[in-house]
């Protein structure tokens, strides 16, 4: 037993060491890159911190950016637990936001109730868009990796069409001035609250995201549903024998995953904030939140609670990057830093996984 706990402790140490080395490596590489492009890494770091945390109102902005990333990541975690690779969140998010816009105005009830409806319809829209991929997979055997990805472009086109017709999404002429392809702005009482805390506006969506992360984390680890989903993801044939039907649980997980992306879209629409337009739907509304959410899930490695801080870090890189431009370094350098960080956070688990398996195999063959 003591040997076991000792082993455990040395493993945690190993993990920490691995991650630290790996992240330091990525940061050093990023610094070299900044220097190589003619900048100085110190002001860049300073600008990143200013933009994401230090300047007035910035950490609220970062939280607001993190919220939809977190929602997308939670959905991704659900589908990947079931062994499905959904990489179409960007499209599901956009379609979800379009659903939220359309039905938000269609129902148009009194304030707070309508906000709830907007969020629900956003989730439904995302779920239906992912449902197309689920249908193709279980009816015709089209791999969901392909269909979800390709449906991003299709979704973009479909919503763009909606935005060109006043009877669908386009705002009436009086509301949009001479702008094309915009929806009507959500009425003030149809928006998510943004309470002010310590001089920062904190969007309500953050709370939704954190609560859902906790719920999903529990659901996956503690419920029979989560158990079955994990079984399906890890061994589909064992699941088939045990009564976990691919079609039902797999399609369900994929649609739920799309639902979370759609919810993220609705939350962006109703949540507002500097980054996400002005409570109205425009082309390019998704602004890569879907893709970044996918990265968050990748780094969090199927753990919904880990996705919370990861989403915050990635959101910080995004909000911080808008300040980097002032240092004379190309602001998009943060995209490269983000990429390096993702790699740095993915390498240690991969290495440990391979090593653990090798050890186990060696042990198993010894014992046979």
């Amino acid at each position: 037993m003591t040997a076991g706990s000792l082993n455990q402790r040395s493993r945690v140490g190993e993990w920490l060491l691995f991650y630290t080395l790996s992240v330091i490596g990525a940061l050093v590489l990023s610094a070299i890159l900044v220097e190589a492009t003619g900048g100085d890494w110190r002001p860049v770091v300073s600008a990143l911190l200013d933009g994401s945390l230090r300047r007035p109102g910035r950490w609220g902005e970062t939280l607001g950016t993190a919220a939809p990333m977190l929602l997308v990541a939670i959905g991704t975690i659900i589908s990947s637990k079931a062994g499905l690779i959904n990489i179409g969140q960007e499209g599901q998010l956009f379609v979800g936001a379009a659903f939220a816009t359309y039905f938000g105005f269609l129902i148009g009830g009194p304030g707070p109730i309508n906000v709830v409806f907007i969020l629900i319809f956003g989730a439904i829209g995302g779920a239906l868009w992912a449902g197309v991929a689920a249908l193709l997979k279980y009816w015709r055997g089209v791999p969901e990796v392909l269909s979800t990805l390709l449906l991003v472009s299709v979704g973009g086109q479909v919503v763009a069409y909606g935005l060109s017709k006043t009877w669908i999404l386009l705002a009436p002429l009086a509301d949009r001035g001479n702008r094309n392809q915009v929806s009507t702005q959500l009425a003030k009482n149809n928006r998510l609250p943004r309470p002010e805390i310590f001089g920062n506006e904190v969007p309500f969506a953050v709370l939704i995201g954190v609560i859902l992360a906790v719920i999903v984390s529990l659901a996956l680890s503690r419920t029979v549903w989560g158990f079955k989903l994990r079984m399906l993801g890890r061994n589909p044939r064992a699941a088939q024998r045990s009564g976990v039907a691919q079609t039902r649980y797999g399609a369900g997980a994929l649609m739920l995953s799309g639902g979370f992306a759609g919810l993220a879209g609705a939350a962006m629409l109703a949540g507002g904030g500097f980054a996400f337009g002005n409570y109205q739907l425009v082309p390019g509304f998704a602004t890569n939140i879907g893709w970044t959410g996918l990265l968050v899930a990748l780094v969090a490695r199927e753990k919904a609670l880990v996705a919370i801080p990861v989403a915050f870090v990635f959101a910080g890189l995004r909000t911080g990057s808008s300040f980097v431009g002032a240092t004379g370094v190309e602001g998009r350098i943060t995209d490269v830093i983000q990429g390096l960080l993702v790699l740095a956070l993915l390498i240690p688990p991969a290495v440990m996984f391979i090593r653990d398996r090798k050890r186990a195999e060696a042990l198993a063959t010894d014992r046979v």
């Binding site: 419920t223 158990f227 061994n235 064992a238 024998r241 009564g243 014992r367």
Partner: protein, 529 residues
């Protein structure tokens, strides 16, 4: 045997130097001895059949010749020279070629492209096509060089494999179970061209097979292997099917009485066990009726398969592997949908291929390959114990962690599972202990039917004993047991009734008391008694 090519080595001796001589070859994989002091000589100008059951060591022996496996001990002589064959390329360079049981063809490519694969240097399509034409003419292996391999039948694909092998002009050609994917007519054609290869060109041909008929009719001499040893060597002319069958499956070993003598089983258990001839007028628990299943490309996996199973009886399904046993297990695991036919449990039809239906109806399965459908390696031991039914450890959809832990601890105790605890990841357990987890789970569901497919494969002696006892005890407690095994001893040891499978159908059925090895061997070899 008057060819000049032999004389270079065999100066002066009256006996021609054999093409290949294995001397005292031994090879072990872990605890398993695949080849155990094998001596074998392969002559030119003759077809040499090597007969044996699965795991008899015949494939391992041939893999040594082709450079895929290195022997632990012993030596291989090719044309009188001791050789260390370290790779298939090395084997090819000294004139040894093999036609594998499983095709290694690229389906979207054409025949000539497949033949040209693996050649080095500049690609000359015209030359390759000509070569194919030459080989095809010489051996009567007509084929269209520009046909796409994906469009060809199994027989023609094999033809491509053979041409691939023969175009290098090998002196020694090995065929590994060549007819397993062929129709009878295709087999006849194949053997005709084999004859051609041997007679006209004085090559040595080795035919590895478990089919009595083809070994008997297509070869000149026959070596029988069993448990890694050569047990007999005879001339095809003087052999007959019963002799071969006996040689292949071995003498009957009275394992049961041996165990009784060792005190592992007590006498009462034995008499009760063997005498419990289940009354045949009792209604069957499990009925499989005319089950037919087809695989990709219309291959028949199960062919009008019917079987009745009664409570408390153990029915052994014997047969050489690959004759539908895996599919039978899959069918009863809801992993296979039938083309026609049905499965009935207590007279009620259980839908085939419907997720979880068989398990819910009360069919427990110890699968042939536990990693395939028996366990989830990335879940914990405790979780693996409740894969099929979580009702005992959950309330209102929530899993009760402490109930799960208690259940796991009691199972670990009862089934003596060696592990670091209930939360140990399944992959950290050894094979034998993983098998115990499967057994524990399936038995704890109190099944009506227990399907045990190759339940003792890869286990050590103690674990085998344990497994056999558990299966016997389950039957004694009234479970109907279907024991699918390629180990004849295991079947004879445990079953009350034996059915033999061949080509996806039942070819014979007999009570244990009437079973004799010769009949079983003939049936397994596809010779209908």
């Amino acid at each position: 045997m008057s060819s000049g090519s032999l004389d270079k080595a065999g100066a002066g001796s009256s006996e021609p130097v054999p093409a290949v001589v294995f001397r005292n070859i031994t090879k072990t994989f872990g605890a398993v001895t695949a080849c155990d002091g094998v001596d074998l000589a392969i002559q030119r100008g003759r077809i040499h059949g090597i007969l044996g059951e699965n795991g008899a060591g015949k494939s391992t022996l041939m893999k040594m010749l082709i450079g895929l496996v290195l022997p632990d001990q012993g030596s291989i002589e090719v044309d009188g020279t001791v050789r260390q064959i370290r790779s298939p390329q090395a084997a090819a360079s000294i004139g040894i070629g093999m036609v594998h049981q499983h095709f290694s063809l690229v389906e979207p490519l054409t025949v000539w492209e497949n033949v040209a694969l693996g050649e080095s240097g500049k690609l000359d399509p015209a030359a390759v096509r000509n070569r194919i034409g030459d080989v095809a003419d010489r051996y009567g292996l007509a084929i269209e060089p520009d046909a796409r391999v994906g469009d060809l039948t199994a027989g023609l694909r094999q033809r491509v494999e053979i041409i691939k092998c023969l175009r290098r002009d090998p002196n020694i050609v090995i065929f590994d179970e060549p007819t397993s994917v062929l129709t009878p007519e295709e087999s006849v054609q194949l053997f005709a061209s084999l004859r051609q290869v041997v007679a006209a060109e004085d090559r040595a041909v080795v035919l590895v097979s478990h089919k009595l008929d083809e070994v008997l009719h297509a070869t000149d001499e026959i070596t029988i292997m069993r448990h890694g040893r050569v047990v007999d060597h005879l001339d095809a002319g003087s052999a007959d099917a019963p002799t071969l069958a006996r040689g292949m499956v071995g003498r009957e070993v009275s394992l049961r009485s041996e165990r009784a003598a060792l005190g592992v089983l007590d006498a009462a258990d034995i008499s009760e066990h063997t005498s419990s001839s289940v009354a045949s007028d009792e209604p069957p628990v499990l009925q499989i009726q005319n089950a037919t299943a087809k695989g990709l490309g219309g291959v028949t996996l199960l062919n009008d398969f019917s079987l009745d199973l009664r409570a408390g009886e153990i029915v052994g399904v014997a047969g050489v592997e690959g004759n539908g046993q895996r599919e039978l297990g899959d069918l009863l695991s809801s992993l296979l949908s039938l083309h026609s036919g049905s499965v009935l449990l207590d007279g009620t039809r259980v839908p085939d291929g419907k997720s979880g239906a068989m398990a819910r109806a009360g069919i427990g399965v110890i699968p042939e390959d536990r990693h395939d459908s028996g366990i989830v390696l990335d879940m914990t031991l405790a979780e693996n114990l409740v894969l099929v039914d979580q009702s005992s450890v959950s309330r209102r959809g929530m899993i009760d962690g402490s109930a799960l832990k208690d259940l796991a601890e009691s199972m670990i105790d009862e089934f003596d599972i060696q592990c670091s605890g209930p939360d140990a990841p399944m992959w950290s357990l050894s094979g034998g202990n993983q098998q115990r987890v499967v057994l524990a789970r399936e038995l704890s569901q109190s099944p009506k039917v227990l399907v045990a497919a190759q339940p003792t494969r890869g286990l050590d002696v103690g674990a085998i004993e344990y497994m056999s006892q558990r299966i016997g005890a389950a039957a004694a407690a009234g479970v109907a047991v279907l024991l699918i095994s390629s180990e004849l001893e295991e079947i004879l040891d445990l079953s009350h009734r034996i059915v033999v499978m061949h080509s996806g159908r039942v070819v014979g059925e007999m009570p244990r008391s009437d079973a004799d090895l010769e009949t079983l061997g003939l049936l397994m070899g596809g010779v209908v008694a």
